[in-house]
């Protein structure tokens, strides 16, 4: 299994698009789609072949061995994340083929899209702190540029805000990495974990915790750091909103937090408590701010803040059930939130507005959009048998069984708030009396197909909850996160302990 193909295939696609597809814009879309399809298939193969490799594949990227080189590591958690990311990326790219006709510079869009995908796959696979930073910056750069893609004044403003906050916190992360390096003299994650485990807890580690929580917390959009998200995500073109809300905040944020704090630092209690607090705040504040929004996509942005809170409290509980809930909600949220963003894109494509006050009665004219949006609404508010129900139920049960009854009750109550603000969308956009906005254009085929597939996945992905599937495929992931030293132990045999001449 060559792990670097997850990185070089989209990177190559980005450069091929820039080199050859400037004039032929359909060619750009074809290259992007082919690259996405390729890595989607490979990530499925990797996921199912992983158990036969003992749960971990490690590739050194040069002739040296770690810790003297950068390594790419595929374990249960990262192969699962790869599937989530590449699935959403493929469907978004497919949707974008026709959606992007409303913009100029199609090839630019696809090149940046591929670059963003490169960064995310890199973050998921890397086993090296500085390499994590570099890939994070690659995907953030393209995200800033894509947020500003429409070059309207609001979009530029949102992109500048995002870029400022992103750059400040990325610098903090680099500072934290510097401090870690000064203590352990290594950048390989597993080696850092090994040295910290044998060396006790130095005081400087708390500064590193703080810097990393601020840094990755901003990328996750946890509440004190959430201000950029409701501006940036709605400003981007709809397929990119789906990517940003669906997978970018989870890859750069939640995945990086989990990998670093659980696998490297061994889940320190103080960090879990902070994450718990921030997660609860996110659920409540994000939920209540969504109700008052009138911009369709902005409402979805605040809803992302709220939903990411569920994922974070699931992980912060630190119990196997909580982590299972976190992983499931991460996957399910990626599906239904990208579906909802694609729907909002379809509404905007058809009517040229996303102000809920001007919309209304669209269910007759935009049948597919309205139906899929209903599926998304039911999923996100946790109505059985749609997928959101199972993940939220597990998180709430985990909260109660871990003795955090108040947080469990809050999570359950905000779930009702979620239903309230999505019913507002239903009432004002798709049902109710007709608004001033008219349907100017039909929603084209590719956009419809992507939405239908995602809506179907909302139902099909509930099948993960079947006990035998859960036992075979989800429990190893939970064990990877829970087994606080199993990651280090698995990488340790690959470490080169001989001294350099």
């Amino acid at each position: 299994m060559i792990l670097s193909q997850f990185i070089f295939v989209p990177l190559l696609a980005a450069f091929l698009i820039v080199l050859f597809a400037r004039k032929k814009e359909n060619f750009a879309a074809a290259i992007a789609l082919a690259a996405c399809a390729w890595i989607l298939i490979v990530s499925f193969i990797a996921f199912f072949k992983l158990p036969s490799h003992g749960g971990m594949i490690l590739n050194n990227t040069s002739g040296w061995k770690i810790p003297y080189t950068i390594c790419l590591i595929l374990d249960n958690l990262s192969s699962f994340m790869l599937i989530v990311v590449n699935l959403v990326a493929f469907l978004s790219a497919f949707y974008a083929i026709q959606y992007i006709n409303h913009f100029t510079g199609k090839w630019n869009f696809f090149a940046l899209f591929m670059l963003m995908l490169t960064g995310m796959n890199g973050v998921i696979l890397t086993g090296d702190f500085f390499n994590l930073y570099v890939f994070m910056e690659i995907s953030l750069f393209s995200a800033y540029a894509l947020v500003a893609f429409g070059t309207e004044s609001e979009e530029l403003e949102a992109a500048f805000k995002y870029a400022t906050m992103g750059a400040i916190t990325s610098t903090m992360i680099l500072f934290g990495i510097g401090i870690l390096y000064s203590y352990t003299s290594t950048l390989t994650m597993a080696d850092v974990g090994l040295q910290l485990r044998s060396g006790g807890t130095p005081k400087m580690i708390f500064l590193v915790y703080g810097l990393f929580i601020a840094g990755f917390g901003l990328k996750t959009a946890l509440v004190p750091f959430h201000a950029w998200l409701p501006d940036a995500h709605p400003s981007a073109p709809a397929p990119i909103s789906a990517m940003l809300s669906g997978v970018l905040i989870k890859t750069l944020g939640v995945y990086a937090l989990v990998r670093i704090f659980f696998n490297v630092f061994g889940a320190p209690t103080v960090v879990l408590q902070i994450l718990m607090l921030l997660g609860t705040l996110s659920i409540v504040i994000g939920g209540f701010l969504s109700i008052v929004q009138w911009d369709f996509k902005r409402l979805l942005g605040f809803s992302s803040v709220s939903q990411i809170g569920y994922v974070v409290i699931g992980f912060a509980l630190g119990t196997p059930l909580g982590i299972l809930g976190g992983i499931l909600h991460l996957f399910y949220h990626a599906i239904f939130k990208s579906l909802l963003f694609l729907d909002s894109g379809a509404v905007e494509y058809a009517t040229d507005t996303r102000d809920l006050r001007q919309l209304g009665g669209l269910s007759k004219e935009l049948k597919v959009t309205s139906a899929t949006n209903m599926v998304g609404t039911l999923s996100i508010s946790g109505i059985p048998p749609f997928n959101g129900f199972f993940s939220k139920l597990i998180i709430i049960i985990a909260c109660i069984s871990a003795g955090r009854i108040v947080i469990g009750i809050i999570a359950a109550l905000v779930s009702i708030v979620t239903l309230a603000y999505f019913l507002k969308v239903q009432k004002h956009a798709f049902y109710g009396k007709k608004g001033s906005a008219k349907v100017l254009e039909k929603v084209p085929f590719a956009m419809k197909t992507a939405m239908i597939i995602l809506a179907a996945l909302c139902l099909i992905s509930s099948a993960i909850m079947i006990p035998s599937i859960r036992k075979n495929y989800l429990n190893p992931i939970v064990e990877t996160v829970m087994g606080r030293t199993s990651y280090i132990d698995k990488v340790e045999p690959y470490l080169d302990n001989g001294s350099v001449k």
Partner: protein, 114 residues
């Protein structure tokens, strides 16, 4: 130690500037200062008093304890390139914002609210 403290002070100067300044260009410069301070910090980590260049060569037997650490220097090079990218992108955004709003003052650039 004093060098590290001054380096951290420079970092705080950058944070202060990025938080309090209202001019887009000054914010970009403040972020630049933060980046420089972190780069300086990384280079300071690598430095050893009286140490030599880290080159392995026959006839030039420098013990590993007498070499400066080459890894942070490589990191700093990469991080400088990344900062160049971010500065260029933010400057480009600032120019486009100026064309739309006719101002660099962030208190006047407020169309997104709620």
């Amino acid at each position: 130690m004093i060098l590290y403290l001054m380096c951290f002070f420079l970092f705080l100067v950058g944070v202060y500037g990025a938080i309090t300044k209202r001019d887009l260009i000054k914010i970009i410069l403040a972020i630049g200062i933060m980046g420089y301070s972190v780069n300086l910090f990384l280079v300071l980590l690598a430095y050893r008093t009286g140490a030599l260049v880290p080159i392995l060569k026959k006839g030039l037997d420098i013990p590993a304890s007498m070499m400066v650490d080459p890894l942070p220097q490589a990191i700093v090079l990469t991080s400088i390139v990344i900062e160049l990218g971010i500065t260029a992108l933010m400057a480009a955004l600032a120019i486009r914002i100026y064309q739309k709003y006719d101002t660099f003052d962030i208190t006047k650039i407020r169309r997104l609210q709620g």
